[in-house]
Symmetry: C2
Subunit: 229 residues, 2 copies
DNA sequence: TTACTTAGTGTAAAAATTACACACTATATT
DNA sequence: AATATAGTGTGTAATTTTTACACTAAGTAA
């Protein structure tokens, strides 16, 4: 959070890096600030942790207020508490990331007073960010890069039914490098957590690909054997 | 921190899991509380973050006050903020772990008022812990298990000069399983970050082993290629 | 000298990773 | 109907990494 500060000695907030995937690009949700400091700058959405909220609850609330979405995969990843990170006082913030499948921009809701607007911006072309938010974002990306190699988080960015090419695309965007198609498919299928459906992709002007679904049950069963991409 | 609470709405503290290795066992430093709540219980050392301290500084200070040690490897790993985790009010705490080479118990210093005493206790036989400290400890151990596979943190627990057997021992204790001697040596040497010394172990009643040193410079150079045990 | 204890070493089999190219299929276009 | 287009889907061989496994050497203590 970075809005108007109550006159407390220290404030504890949560800031969120909301990663969204629209089938093409990886984006994050940024808000344009309407308040000093950093008026007119882009910033990560955040807010103060309420007195009766758990940290996860607080993160979910922030997400909900901004997007109307619930039940999204979120995870805390780092606390930033440099005494000078906020020009107006001591603000310790805990960073969360979330992974969201974007289906058009219908998710955005009327936003709160300290922001002019909110936008999904592609991570390949981010503006300068307020406060230490660049650092927070960088660490968040680093975190999901690491996590995608060991945990089935890529599916959170995809619709329930997806093609292997789409899945590979997500991996490539997050890892920031091309992967070999055959090797990727071999490996991802070998984990045994994908369920091949009897359905094909629709609405494409070329050969339609087979759809798959992430098999949560099976993953839970095999959980001991952690995925390692 | 879990000591006397000032009457604030919310408190931000740091709790530390200090892992120590004495050549035999893996231990953590616990304090026996002298105050309610949880008087006479064992707890992780912790304290409130000061107004002008960064989080890392605060963690170092807590460590220093308890052990007199400086320059120890510490890392934050998770924030715990359940509204009910502290019976007397809202306390959000950030957990750090530290890795310390123990050379006798001479490190312990006179301790602060809220503790009767502090002790290094083997992790194989821990008492019940106050608050949610068991959870904090569990997550800390989990964290270093993960991290020891990719980062050269095992050396932090050993003296500057160590034998390969000692190193293997540290890995075995943290990972909680036996490793094959030949494979371990092959792999660890292949990373190229160990410097074999012209020196042998002393004071043992059997064949003395060769001493090694962790080559930080070389590690920094190879840093791109991350270690993967 | 003997007994004891840990150090130190190699190899073969199995598994995982990498590199690599083309035919197929569905649609759109003419 | 024929053709162009764009992405799907598939196999293999070479290389690298991982695993399993047991004995001799060196030093100390009795």
């Amino acid at each position: 959070m970075e809005q108007i500060l109550p006159h407390l000695d220290s404030v504890f907030s949560i800031d969120c890096v909301l990663f969204g995937f629209d089938g093409k690009e990886l984006k994050i949700l940024l808000i344009e600030r309407n308040e000093e400091p950093f008026k007119d700058w882009w910033a990560l959405p955040g807010n103060i942790v309420g007195p009766d909220e758990s940290l996860d609850q607080s993160a979910s609330r922030i997400l909900y207020e901004l997007t109307g979405l619930r039940g999204i995969y979120m995870e805390q990843y780092y606390a930033f508490g440099d005494p000078n990170r906020h020009p107006q006082g001591r603000v310790i913030t805990l960073a969360y990331y979330a992974l969201i499948r974007l289906g058009g921009d219908k998710e955005l809701r009327p936003i709160s007073n300290y922001a002019k607007r909110a936008n999904w911006l592609p991570i390949t072309d981010l503006p300068k960010l307020a406060f230490d938010h660049q650092k927070i974002y960088d660490k968040g990306l680093e975190k999901i890069k690491r996590r995608i190699k060991h945990q089935p988080i890529a599916f959170e960015l995809l619709p329930e039914k997806f093609t292997l090419t789409q899945l590979q695309h997500v991996y490539e965007l997050i890892l920031g490098k091309k992967l070999d198609k055959r090797n990727f498919r071999k490996k991802i299928v070998s984990f045994g957590v994908l369920k091949e459906l009897d359905e094909k992709q629709k609405g494409v002007s070329y050969r339609a690909a087979t759809l798959y679904r992430f098999d949560k049950r099976r993953y839970a069963k095999l959980f001991g054997k952690e995925i390692s991409f």
